[in-house]
C-alpha cells in the first residue's frame, strides 16, 4: 500500500504543477531576467546590463509620478469604496429594521441590489468609453452639457491636471462599489439574527447596531476587501489607458505603472526597461498584500 502512495500523489499533482510552472512561474523568472537586459523585442539578441534598468528608474520622473498616483489611489480608493459599500450593504440588509423577527433591508432593496451590481457587469473599457462621454468638455458631454446650459461650464475633468486623477478615482469607485455591496451583504447574512435581536431588545438604534454589531462581525470581510481594493489600486491601467487624455496625461497627471510598462514596451520597444517596471510592480503589490494582512490581523470573533 505504502509503495503505491507516492506515484498516486505525484500522478495527481504533476499536471497542475507542470501547468503552473510553465505558464506562471517560468514567465515570471524570465521577466526578472529580461529586466536585467537591454532587449528591444525585435530580435533574439540582447546584452546583459545588470541593474542599469532599475537605476534608470530612479531619475525617471514619470515613474515617480506613477508611484505617487498609486499612493493616492491606495489611500483614497479603498477607503471611499468600502465606506460607501458598507453603508449601502447595511441599508440593504439591516436598514429596514426588524419585521416579524427577521432583519430586513429598506424598501426596494432587492431592486437596488441589482442596480448597484450593474457596473460590475460592464467591461472596464466600456466604462472608460461611457465616462469619456460623461466627462466630455463639449455640449454632448453629460455633465458639461448641463453645466454649459446653465452657463457654468465647461469643467475639464480629464484635461485639468488637478482634477484628472480624482475623476479617474471617482470612476473606479463607481465601478467597484457594487461588488463590495454584494460581498458585505454576504458577510452580513452570516451574522446570526439573534445577536441583532438581542441588541434591539437592549434598545440599540441603527447607528449603534452598525458600529457595535455589524462592523466588528464583518471585520474579516472588510479586511479582504481592503486587500482586493489595494491590489486594484496598483493596477488601474485599463481605465487610464481608455479614459485619460494624452496617454496618462495631461502631462503625466494620471499615469500609473501599468501604463508606463505599456508605453515602454509597446510604444518605445524597450522591453528590458518595461520588465524592470514590471518587477517593481510585482514587489510593490506583494509587499502591500503581506503588510495589510499583518497589520489588520485582529482577534477574530468566533461565532
Amino acid at each position: 500500500m505504502r509503495r503505491g502512495r507516492y506515484p498516486f500523489i505525484i500522478g495527481f499533482l504533476a499536471a497542475p504543477v507542470i501547468l503552473y510552472v510553465t505558464f506562471v512561474v517560468l514567465p515570471y523568472v524570465e521577466a526578472f531576467y529580461v529586466a536585467m537586459t537591454d532587449w528591444r523585442g525585435l530580435s533574439p539578441n540582447y546584452n546583459f546590463v545588470g541593474l542599469d534598468n532599475f537605476a534608470g528608474l530612479l531619475d525617471n520622473e514619470r515613474f515617480w509620478k506613477a508611484l505617487r498616483h498609486h499612493g493616492v489611489l491606495l489611500l483614497v480608493m479603498p477607503l471611499v469604496t468600502i465606506l460607501i459599500a458598507l453603508v449601502f450593504a447595511f441599508l440593504l440588509n439591516v436598514g429596514g429594521g426588524s419585521k416579524q423577527g427577521q432583519m430586513a433591508g429598506i424598501w426596494g432593496s432587492g431592486f437596488y441590489r441589482v442596480v448597484f451590481f450593474f457596473p460590475q457587469m460592464l467591461a472596464i473599457v466600456v466604462i472608460g468609453v461611457i465616462f469619456g462621454r460623461v466627462f466630455a468638455p463639449i455640449d454632448s458631454g453629460l455633465i458639461n452639457g448641463a453645466l454649459n446650459g446653465l452657463g457654468l461650464g465647461p469643467v475639464l475633468f480629464m484635461a485639468d491636471p488637478d482634477l484628472a486623477l480624482w475623476s479617474i478615482i471617482a470612476v473606479l469607485v463607481w465601478q467597484g462599489v457594487g461588488f463590495y455591496v454584494v460581498l458585505f451583504s454576504a458577510g452580513m447574512a452570516s451574522i446570526p439574527r439573534d445577536i441583532y435581536e438581542a441588541a434591539l431588545i437592549d434598545g440599540a438604534g441603527k447607528v449603534t447596531l452598525f458600529f457595535r454589531v455589524t462592523l466588528p462581525l464583518l471585520w474579516d470581510t472588510i479586511q479582504v476587501a481592503w486587500v482586493y481594493l489595494g491590489i486594484a489600486a496598483f493596477d488601474a491601467f485599463a481605465i487610464v489607458q481608455v479614459l485619460a487624455v494624452a496617454d496618462g496625461g495631461p502631462d503625466g497627471a494620471t499615469t500609473v505603472i501599468g501604463l508606463e510598462i505599456y508605453q515602454q514596451a509597446f510604444r518605445e520597444s524597450y522591453f528590458g526597461k518595461a520588465s524592470a517596471l514590471g518587477v517593481v510592480l510585482f514587489f510593490l503589490t506583494l509587499t502591500f498584500a503581506a503588510l495589510t494582512l499583518r497589520v489588520t490581523r485582529r482577534e477574530a470573533v468566533e461565532l
Binding site: Q120, L183, A186, V245
Partner: protein, 481 residues
C-alpha cells in the same frame, strides 16, 4: 486587466469564505503584474537565419530575384485598406515573375502579429509597418532586421525609361527612411501639412487666404465675429499636429537648419530664437482665437466640429479629407493653406510647407526572399503602381508626377497645389519618431503653451531640458541626419 477582481457569480455569495477570498486576492495580485511576464515568453528564439533565395542579376532583373521563390507580403489594414496591394502591386509582381507564389496577409495590429516572428528570426519578406501598433523602426534597424535599400534606389525604374528609382522620387523621400546614413525603409505616401479650412465657406464669406501673420490674426478676428472658433486642435490625443505647426513656423522664420539641429539634439536647438518666436506667435493664437475645451477633446471630435462649421482652421496632414469623408457634408470643401509668415524677415517664403514621406514599407533582411521584397518595392515605385495606389486611396505617393492630371477631390487638388507651390521649400523633421520621450514631452509642453498658462520661454526651456536628458541617456539609441 480589470480594475477589480473577478465577477463573483461563480460562487454563491454566502459561500464566499475568508480563505477563498484571500486565495483569490493572491491570484489577483499575481495577475496585477501586467503582461511583462508574458512578453518575455517570446524571448530567446534561435539565432539561425533562414536560407535566402538568390537569382542572377541581369538588365531585366537588376536586383537578382529568384524567379520562382515565394514572397510573403504583410500589409497593415487601416485607412488605406489593402486593395492597392492585392489589386495593383501583387499582380504587377506576378506579371513579372509568373512562377513566384505571393503569399499575402493583412492585419490591423502589425506589432502583435509580427513581433514574435522578428524576435525568432522568421519574419515575412515585405512588411508595411504602420498603424497605431507599429513596430519601432529605429529598433528594427538597430536589430539588423531591415535590408539596406541602396541597391533598390540605384536600380533602374520599372516603367520610367532611363531613370534610376531614386531619380523618380520627390525630394526628401529617401532621406525620410534613412538611419545613420543608409536607407532602410521606403516611405511611400507623401503627406503635406498645413491649415485646413472649408474652401466653400471661405469663398461665400469672402475670406481671403492670409499670407502674413497680421492678415491671419485680422481674419481670425472676422471669423470670431461671425461666431466661429477661428482655430482648434485636439489636445487630448493630437497635440503633435500643433507642435508640428509651431516647428513649421520656426523653420520658416529661421531656416530648415533649426529643425536639423533639433533632430541632432544640438545644444540650444530648442532655445533658438526662431523656435521662441514661433511659440510666442502660436501661444497668442491659442489665447485669443481658440478654446480651452479643446484640451480634453480627441482629433475626431475637433474635426467633426470643423465639418459642422464651428471651427475655421485645423492643422493636419493631407489624410484629413479621407479620414473625415463619412462626416463631411456635401457643401464642405476641404482646402489647405501654408502657414502664414510670422515675421517680415522669414528665411523661407510663405509658400514653404512641412511635407513628409510616410507609411513605411521595408524588406526584412532575415526573410527568405529579401531580393524579392526589394523588387516588390520597385513595383510599388513604378509610375503605374503609384498612380493606381493614388486612385484607390486618394493619397499621393513619393513618385514624382505620378498623379499629374488626376482629379480626385477638392482637398486632394488643394494639397497637390500646395506641394507644387512649395517646390523645393518642403521640409520635415525626424526627432519625434526617433525619440518618443521627446514626442511625449512636446505634446505636454504644447498643451501648456497653448492653453494652460505656458509661455514661449517656458516651452523652449522645457523642451531643451528634455532634449538634453535624452542626449545624456546612454540607454537610448541615437540618430543623426
Amino acid at each position: 486587466m480589470s480594475g477589480t477582481p473577478d465577477n463573483p457569480s461563480t460562487d454563491a455569495p454566502s459561500a464566499v469564505t475568508r480563505r477563498t477570498l484571500l486565495g483569490r486576492a493572491t491570484v489577483a495580485g499575481l495577475l496585477a503584474v501586467p503582461s511583462a511576464g508574458l512578453l518575455s515568453a517570446c524571448l530567446g528564439g534561435g539565432d539561425d537565419t533562414q536560407d535566402q533565395a538568390e537569382g542572377t542579376k541581369s538588365a531585366d532583373n537588376p536586383l537578382g530575384v529568384k524567379e520562382d521563390a515565394p514572397l510573403e507580403v504583410v500589409i497593415f489594414n487601416g485607412g488605406l485598406g489593402t486593395k492597392y496591394a492585392t489589386d495593383v502591386h501583387i499582380p504587377s509582381y506576378k506579371a513579372k515573375f509568373p512562377k513566384a507564389e505571393v503569399k499575402f496577409s493583412q492585419t490591423e495590429e502589425i506589432a502583435t502579429q509580427l513581433q514574435p516572428r522578428f524576435s525568432s528570426n522568421t519574419p515575412p519578406d515585405m512588411v508595411n509597418n504602420a498603424g497605431s501598433k507599429l513596430m519601432d523602426m529605429g529598433a528594427l534597424v538597430q536589430a539588423g532586421q531591415a535590408s539596406d535599400l541602396t541597391d533598390l534606389f540605384d536600380a533602374p525604374s520599372l516603367d520610367i525609361a532611363g531613370q534610376k528609382v531614386k531619380d523618380t522620387l520627390l525630394p526628401g523621400a529617401i532621406e525620410q527612411g534613412t538611419f545613420n546614413g543608409k536607407p532602410y525603409v521606403l516611405n511611400y505616401a507623401y503627406t503635406v501639412y498645413g491649415l485646413w479650412y472649408d474652401g466653400a465657406l471661405f469663398k461665400s464669406k469672402g475670406w481671403a487666404v492670409p499670407k502674413t501673420w497680421a492678415e491671419f490674426t485680422a481674419l481670425c478676428d472676422q471669423i470670431k465675429a461671425a461666431g466661429m472658433t477661428p482655430f482648434g486642435y485636439a489636445g487630448a490625443n493630437a497635440a503633435y499636429y500643433q507642435y508640428l505647426v509651431i516647428l513649421t513656423s520656426a523653420a520658416k522664420i529661421g531656416g530648415t537648419d533649426v529643425l536639423k539641429n533639433i533632430d541632432n539634439l544640438e545644444a540650444g536647438a530648442w532655445t533658438n530664437d526662431a523656435v521662441k518666436k514661433a511659440a510666442e506667435a502660436w501661444a497668442g493664437i491659442g489665447a485669443k482665437y481658440s478654446d480651452k475645451a479643446f484640451l480634453g477633446q480627441k482629433h475626431t471630435e475637433v474635426q467633426l466640429q470643423q465639418n459642422q462649421g464651428k471651427v475655421a482652421f485645423y492643422p493636419s496632414g493631407s489624410w484629413l479629407e479621407n479620414e473625415q469623408a463619412k462626416d463631411t457634408p456635401s457643401t464642405f470643401q476641404y482646402a489647405v493653406m501654408p502657414l502664414p509668415s510670422v515675421t517680415g524677415s522669414d528665411k523661407l517664403p510663405s509658400t514653404a510647407i512641412f511635407a513628409a514621406a510616410g507609411e513605411m514599407y521595408f524588406a526584412a533582411s532575415k526573410g527568405k526572399n529579401p531580393r524579392g521584397a526589394q523588387e516588390y518595392l520597385r513595383h510599388m515605385l513604378s509610375k503605374e503602381g503609384a498612380k493606381k495606389f493614388t486612385e484607390l486611396t486618394k493619397v499621393m505617393t513619393v513618385v514624382k508626377g505620378a498623379t499629374d492630371g488626376l482629379t480626385i477631390s477638392p482637398g486632394f487638388t488643394s494639397g497637390a497645389a500646395l506641394a507644387t507651390a512649395a517646390g523645393a521649400n518642403a521640409f520635415s523633421y525626424r526627432w519625434a519618431d526617433w525619440y518618443k520621450k521627446l514626442d511625449d514631452e512636446c505634446r505636454s509642453a504644447t498643451n501648456e503653451l497653448m492653453f494652460s498658462g505656458g509661455t514661449a520661454d517656458k516651452f523652449c526651456e522645457r523642451m531643451q531640458k528634455a532634449a538634453d536628458a535624452v542626449k545624456n541617456d546612454s540607454s537610448i539609441q541615437k540618430f543623426k541626419r
